[in-house]
């Protein structure tokens, strides 16, 4: 099955990337946040790869990051400090949260690959001033990438980058459509492997596999009871073990579940929105896409626009309930969570809140998720 290829890529990201470099002779730049305009990197024939953690308990970041910063940023930095990405030609971050920024700056200080770039992605994305500002920043980025590669790009190169990334987004959305079915032919776990593997591979090599998966899903039937349909809302949540635990609960307990959609930056916030193609000014088109995409909560003001998107997902994917996951110490999400929970409850979406640490064992969460699933079955109060 083609779908298994995603898992293989996810588990062997470093092997893939070192092999890619050897095969193509091109450069690889690691990025820390989904606000990085991958289109521009593809225009330069650079492979942008997202740096995610390894979900292990680690002991190397303590001198570099104060303990009140999120476990995800510590996990990410550990990858660099442990030398797992020594093959990178550069690193970059687009301004989002200050937690992850520290992973980037510490990496730059201690494991500098020779090229690094901080992109001040605007925070005031609801302002008409954000796009022109971002275009100015992209122009600086392009000059820096010219330094890295020794080549110049044209609008046609940028259009190529846009086309690659839009194809990725379209096929992901097409595959997500299958998750709306009563018995989805693809699990939440497989979907997570799909989106994450795209972070780690050349989109041009990932796309044919994704197209094949799309075809397979038309006839695929999974021999499992989907159980309750869950929406996950959160920040950076590529926690494969957690999703596996939730989706296999039904094999051990009286209640089971399938994650049918997520609103977080590993999946939908990353790929849901496309760049408008065919415009005269591709750089502005790219900037417009990153400014108007579903925002990280640190940029979602003065209006809290995420709420409607979350509710639409809950409805479109027919979710029975939502698990709101808070990455421990994640300030941007912590400022939104009480309002998200209230909003979902007011709109009849039962909600459960979990504070999470990607580097700790998943076991203790099982009983809590199970308890939540049981509440979804209760139709009336006992008394």
């Amino acid at each position: 099955m083609a779908v298994e290829k995603f898992q293989e890529w996810y588990e062997n990201r470093h092997a893939y990337q070192t092999d890619w470099k050897k095969r193509t002779g091109s450069k690889i730049v690691g990025f820390f946040c989904t606000y990085t305009p991958e289109e521009i990197y593809y225009a330069f024939d650079i492979l942008p790869v997202r740096i995610l953690g390894s979900h292990e308990i680690q002991d190397v970041t303590e001198p570099h990051l104060f303990a009140m910063f999120c476990p995800f940023c510590r996990d990410v930095l550990a990858q660099g400090l442990k030398g797992r990405y020594d093959y990178l030609d550069g690193i970059t971050i687009a301004q989002s949260c200050i937690h992850l920024r520290q992973a980037y700056t510490s990496w730059e200080i201690h494991k500098n690959p020779g090229w690094s770039h901080y992109l001040p992605m605007p925070n005031h994305v609801q302002s008409p001033r954000a796009v022109p500002f971002l275009v100015g920043e992209y122009e600086i980025l392009i000059k820096r990438l010219e330094d890295l590669t020794g080549r110049k790009i044209t609008d046609s190169d940028l259009n190529k980058g846009i086309e690659i990334m839009n194809k990725v987004r379209r096929v992901m959305k097409d595959i997500y459509e299958f998750r709306k079915q009563d018995n989805p032919p693809i699990t939440g776990l497989e979907s997570m492997y799909m989106t994450c593997s795209q972070f780690f591979t050349d989109a041009r090599e990932w796309l044919p596999v994704a197209e094949e998966v799309k075809k397979e899903l038309e006839t695929r039937k999974l021999e499992r009871d989907p159980g309750k349909r869950l929406l996950i809302v959160g920040s950076e949540n590529d926690d494969i073990e957690f999703i596996r635990m939730v989706e296999t609960l039904g094999e051990r307990e009286s209640v089971g579940a399938t994650i049918v959609v997520e609103e977080h930056c590993t999946t939908t916030r990353y790929f849901w929105d496309e760049v408008e193609e065919g415009l005269d000014d591709p750089l502005t088109a790219i900037a417009d896409r990153y400014v108007s995409r579903t925002p990280c909560p640190s940029k979602d003001w003065p209006q809290r626009t995420r709420l409607q998107r979350i509710l639409k997902f809950a409805k479109d994917f027919n979710a029975d309930g939502a698990i709101v996951i808070q990455q421990k110490f994640c300030d941007p999400h912590e400022t939104d969570i009480p309002f998200i929970r209230k909003f979902l409850e007011e709109n009849d979406v039962p909600t459960y809140f979990l504070e999470f640490d990607v580097t700790t064992a998943v076991g203790p969460f099982a009983i809590r998720v199970e308890a939540f699933l049981e509440t979804l079955d209760q139709e009336d109060d006992l008394f």
């Binding site: 001198p63 570099h64 990051l65 104060f66 009140m68 910063f69 301004q95 949260c97 200050i98 937690h99 920024r101 520290q102 700056t105 510490s106 730059e108 200080i109 901080y118 001040p120 605007p122 925070n123 005031h124 302002s127 008409p128 001033r129 954000a130 022109p132 500002f133 100015g136 920043e137 600086i140 909560p297 640190s298 003001w301 003065p302 809290r304 808070q326 421990k328 110490f329 300030d331 941007p332 912590e334 400022t335 939104d336 969570i337 009480p338 309002f339 929970r341 504070e355």
Partner: protein, 437 residues
């Protein structure tokens, strides 16, 4: 026996009165037919001044710090915020502030929390705009909000140049903010008042930097515990003419103290610097240090939060930013000048890279002749502790003696006073000091 003469600050009573009046103005604004607004300490308040002379603010951070002084009240506010569903690791000022709204209690006069007519702030750490977005919602959802994003990149020399589009981005948001303010208040905007306020902002923040320069003297004419009560004017409202005038007076007095060798701490033997906000409910730790003959002469926090400086790479020094040659003449020019001025704030630079802050801190350590650096790993403020662990490593590499303690500026549950005193004692002893009876 005292090594140096000391004397109280003559302008201390005036400082106290100005501070109290500021908070009273917010509380009593409606009685005077005025307007109330809420926002962050770094909000470009000069922009609001164009709405009239009867427009008063409560500034979130100093308000949160004031709550922290009253530990039982703060505990009540923090609990209220947590009961609402906010995580307890969020900014402690913010939780005190939200708690005040939820409890409908104003910490400064124990009356009802005065509802603001609008919120005007800036955004650079993850929480600034979210603070007021949530405050507006907790107030019933009918308080309009405008925030200016100042996360437009570091200022030279930390970047090769100040790119024009970055200043333009911030200035244009201010221009939009002016239109928005007129709409939400129904008031006509007065450019003259605005331009005067821009000038006052620059005057005040430049003068504060000049005052801090005077603390290079030995003995230091000011200690940091006192500085906390004085820097606050540059935090409460930078464009306030009365505050700017007060800093002129303060400058003269501190200059005179330095010239006459008047010390803040009579037995000054060692000079320290700190970092980030202190645990506000436990400022006695500064008095404890004095028993050892140690005076904290300041920090990038107290120097840079209220002062505008430029880092001189060649001299490895912090230099007060000079006032522009001439006042702005138009609204657009005012916004451009204000944007450029604010983007150069030293306390904005570390948001982009800890190395920038390490350089500035090391410059303070060297030029203010500090024997040691005390870092507060402040669980209450992610914005000012961002990169602090790398600052520690960088300062050690540059030959500084560094001590760190963990605490919280506004949540006493996260500060261990006894353990901190023990740690301080060991550090001060390692500097060759002995406690005096």
């Amino acid at each position: 026996m005292a090594k140096y003469p000391t004397e109280p600050l003559k302008c201390w009573p005036k400082a106290k009165e100005l501070r109290q009046q500021f908070y009273r103005n917010f509380s009593e604004a409606k009685e005077k037919g005025g307007i109330r607004w809420m926002g962050s300490a770094w909000a470009p308040d000069a922009v609001v001044r164009g709405l009239g002379k009867d427009v008063y603010s409560v500034t979130g951070e100093p308000y949160g710090a004031s709550c922290a002084f009253d530990k039982p009240l703060s505990a009540k506010f923090l609990s209220a915020a947590e009961n609402f569903g906010f995580a307890r690791d969020l900014c402690a000022y913010m939780r005190n502030y939200w708690g005040s709204i939820l409890c409908n209690e104003y910490a400064l006069d124990k009356g009802k929390f005065p509802k603001a007519d609008f919120a005007w702030s800036q955004h650079i750490c993850c929480s600034h705009a979210k603070w007021y977005q949530n405050a507006c919602e907790l107030e019933g959802g009918n308080v309009p909000l405008f925030c200016v994003d100042v996360g437009a990149g570091a200022y030279p020399p930390f970047e090769p140049e100040m790119y024009p589009h970055r200043i333009r981005y911030v200035a244009d948001q201010m221009m939009d903010g002016i239109e928005w303010m007129q709409k939400v208040t129904g008031r006509e905007y007065n450019d003259e008042l605005f331009l005067e306020a821009v000038w006052n902002d620059m005057r005040l923040t430049s003068k504060w930097a000049e005052i801090c320069m005077l603390n290079r003297a030995t003995p230091a004419p000011l200690d940091e515990k006192t500085i906390y009560s004085l820097y606050v004017f540059g935090v409460l409202e930078q464009s306030n003419a009365e505050f700017a005038d007060f800093y002129d007076e303060l400058y003269d007095e501190v200059k005179d103290r330095a010239a006459r060798g008047i010390a803040a701490v009579a037995n000054e033997k060692a000079r320290l610097m700190t970092d980030t906000q202190p645990p506000w409910g436990f400022l006695n730790i500064y008095r404890y240090m004095e028993k050892w003959g140690a005076v904290s002469v300041g920090s990038l926090y107290t120097f840079g939060l209220a002062g505008t400086w430029l880092y001189d790479e060649e001299k490895h020094d912090l230099i007060p930013r000079a006032m522009p040659d001439k006042k702005p003449a138009t609204r657009e020019e005012g916004c451009m000048m204000l944007a450029d001025w604010h983007l150069s704030k030293p306390e904005y630079q570390h948001f982009y890279h800890p190395e920038y802050k390490t350089k500035m801190m090391d410059a303070i350590a060297k030029n203010w002749k500090c024997d040691g650096v005390i870092l507060h790993y402040n669980r209450g403020c992610e914005g000012l502790t961002v990169g602090i662990a790398e600052n520690r490593l960088g300062l050690l590499e540059r030959g500084n003696k560094v001590m760190a303690y963990e605490g919280n500026m506004g949540d006493e549950r996260e500060f261990d006073e006894t353990a901190t005193i023990n740690r301080l004692s060991i550090f001060l002893e390692s500097l060759g000091l002995k406690i005096e009876d």
